[in-house]
Amino acid sequence: MTSRFESVFLYVVARAMVPLIQVFAFYVITHGHYSPGGGFQGGVMLAASIILLRVSMGDESYDRFPREAGIVIAGFGALAFALLGFMSMLFGGNFLEYALAVPGMSADELRYWGIFFAEVFIGFLVWGALVAIYDALETGGVE
Amino acid sequence: MMDLLLDNRALVAILVSALAAVAVALTGERRRNLRESWTVLAALAKFGIVFSMVPGVLAGERYEVNLLQISPGLELALKVDPAGILFALSASFLWILTSFYAFGYMRGGGEHKQTRFFAWLAVCLSATIGICFSANLLTFVLFYEILSVATYPLVIHAGSEKAYRIGRQYLVYAITAGIALVAGTVLIQNAAGTLDFVAGGFLEAEMGTGLLWAVFVCFFIGFGVKAGVMPIHSWLPNAMIAPTPVSALLHAVAVVKAGVFGFVRLVGYTFGPDLMGAIGAAAVLAVFAGGTILLASFIALTKDDLKARLAYSTVGHLSYIVLGVALLAPQAMLGAAFHMVTHAAMKITLFFCAGAIYIHTGKKKVSQLDGIGHQMPLTLTAFGVGAVGLAGVPLVGGFISKWYLAAGAIDAGALIFLGVLLVSGILNAAYLLPIVTRAFFRRSPDHVKLDEASALMTVPIALTMVLSIMLGVFPDAIFRFFSLSEAIVASVTGVTFGAMP
């Protein structure tokens, strides 16, 4: 099975759209500070792009985005978020206390970047996890 | 170290057999001589420890051990008082004899799973001594439950479907009893705020008659099951499916007596005789006990199976003690306390004999015993002594206790119970003595030659027989059972008796 829908049109359009969606998704993630949006929404968009890839390209998409990649990205995203939380603990702060994460920077600046990284990590994590769920569902419960 | 052991003798007495159980279990079937020496060692040690406390207790000393707090304000505590040591002394002494007897019995019968048997027997003894020395109700309940559970493997020892069925019945009765006890204990703790036994009782009439009755009903179920008070006795005759040493020790001495002892604690140390009389609970208890005495004796008459007959006899005689306690008269109480000992000695003799006959000849039924006295004269003589003792013939222990019971009944003005005692004495004679006459004066259908059971069994039988007689002739010799009984009555009611009869 190469694709669920043997359609050249779908194939071409999807391939063209995926990068656009991804770019927009990154925009949504990184602009969570200023406008509605953020890690969750952007992550969902990223996932949607991969799902589009899966739908349009079928098994070929596993070469671009392997089956394992979803959960690995999710795991690393969450792990990075956790480490972000632990980072300030190293400097004597509380968990997720961005203001203490790096000595020598002003607190609001640090929080800004803390939020930024948190959003990015969340974006990756949501991306990976949702793709993983999709991949799992796509097997249809093979035993 | 030695001081520590001496100070905590009550605890050591309990632990000795628990340790023996572990040792027995670890030694296993292959080294059976070593295994059995553990049992003997523990039995001797236990008896020695208990016996060493007798003079002190008589002199007014109370050996106390506080183990640990088990619930806020409640300690797991031991205290040796006359009532406790009376029971503990008889149980631990008879354990020695039972041990030897059991070796003979189990080997003679080639029983399976002897290790399990001896280990649980030792645990039962631990629990029994724990019951004796409990200083408060919670400790009492704890050991009581352990005893209930530890008896179960002995009851199902035979491993037949019937044994399991009876085991289930036993468990239901025992657990019900245990739960009832817990309920009663909770009620007391809630109302009185304390559970410590006090000679003369610690409950007050102000707690309300309804509550006191509820407590009484709970405890009646709790102890009544073990003590075989009708109508909640039916597990007891069935449980005779256990090997005879178990029947002997547990169903004549330890387990059932634990129930009876519970009644002693209940009337003498929890409610107190005055309160029992005031709320009328004593009368109810006495009626149940009296009814049980008569009914059980009649049922015993109809039983052909020797052990079943003895079982019903046990049911009846346990109620003698309950009745003695329930009459509330000092003399009756004295009789009851002493009957705990004498009945133990006599009934264990009878059970030993029954077991010896069964193992040696395979005969279980009374109707098969014609002429067996010529084959096993010593055994049957001992049986005869026990039988006449239970019937209340002088010079055997039973006479003295019955005498005091009767005197107490007169004292209490309850002449109907005097009648019950007399009738049941006759019935006792009617269902036990024919066995003896049958054994000696009827001709056996088979060829008979003198052929006693092994020494491991006959010697204990002889010793218990001697003990029964000794209790009738010198009731206060060596073990000071009579003095202890008097001490119980004195501490509970304040009445002291001058001289011995």
Partner: protein, 497 residues
Amino acid sequence: MSQIPALIPTSLLLASLVALLVGLKSHRAAHLIALAGAVFAFVCSILGLQAVIQGDGEAIRYAMGAWVPPIGIEFVLDSLAAYMVTLITFIGVMVLIYAPRSLALETPGRQGMVYPSMTLVLAGLVGMCLTGDVFNLYVFLEIAALAAYALLAIGDRGAPVATLRYLLFGAVGGGFYLLGVAYLYFAAGTVNMADLSMRLPELMESRAVIVAAVLMVVGLGVKMALFPFHLWLPDVYTNAPSVSAGLIAPIMTKVSAYAIIRLFLDVFPPGFFTESLPIATTIGWVSAAGILFGSVLAVAQHDYRRMLAYSSVGQLGYIGLGIGLANPLGMIGGLLHILNHALMKGLLFMIGGAVRLRFGTTKIPEYVGVGRAMPWTMVAFTVGVLAMVGIPPTAGFFSKWYLLLGAADAGAWIWFAVIIASSLLSAIYFFRVVEMIYRDPETDSAVADHEPREAGEAPASMFWPITIMATAVMAVGIFNVLIVSALLERVVAPLGG
């Protein structure tokens, strides 16, 4: 030291994330990491427990991100939380040690994913216990629930069906709880527990608060499998792998019960659950019904796990009764039963798994001769049974003891009778199994048609957790007074007396 409240859940979360990544390659490494995380969390909980006891029950408060509550999320390690957290991490460590062999048998090829799920369950439950924020509690509730669904669904053939039912029940429960949080927030303007407890007394008459309380308690009640909502429980535990059941049955439902107790004692004003609204009493009555229902049905079961599941329905009722009594002794009984039942049920499920590993059966009639084949495991089993029945001095006796005292104190004689009756019932259904395992096909005429069991003690990695749990059951019983006086009496202080 001050980081402990945060370290306990986060270390578990970290461990599960790392184990998840590592587990893709090697389930062994995942196991070791999960175990290390659990042990670390356990050590932290012990330290926290010690700190709380030494601090005379003074709570250790921890502001996440250093945002003082109510702005940020607060973690509170007080006596009750420390008690629960220690219990959860202890069970977690035990089950994790126990897990590998059982998983190799029951869920081949998926172990690498199971360990992170197990730590996630632990992390979620620990978070629920520690958090001081009603919404954060919801988040952790769902973490635990989601991981638990997966753990339960990979069992026997019927497991997915049972788990889906659980999931639907859980979603309803979670939704109710969330809606309750919404009412509470709109009525009081905060989701911080300490803050709420200051603002709610003046809102006691507010209908919104009443609805919030009812919704939250019903939601948690569904998760706790309180009587009418217990329907999901038996099938789930019956079909779950032994490891999952051993992890989830002891603690998952208890933590929901804990959350109800937390709401009762610390969030809503004193008397709100007892006088303004008869919530506590209602919980008590349905629990009483649940006790009888669960015990009676347990008697009729032939599958070991199903029997334990119904027994759980009954035993959870004891905790509910503790809440329902709403007096110090009763509540102590309920809280102590959380600990006792967790230890006992964990022990029994683990033993079920060990028997399954050796003899491939979970049917009680096929347990014949197991006592001979795995003697020490069965000694532990007997200890567990004695505790379930409530024979002193095992742990089970004392929770019943306090509950009975509490019931007598409150004059709740029907509940008193229910506790007594259910003890008897549990004796009936548990001793049935004891009788079965100690029958011996070789010498027992009654069961001679059964094949003799080959000797086969549980493997060491399963045997030692079982032994430790059995010891703990005994130890908690004998030394319960330490727990009661050091922790629980402080917890129930708001109830007066």
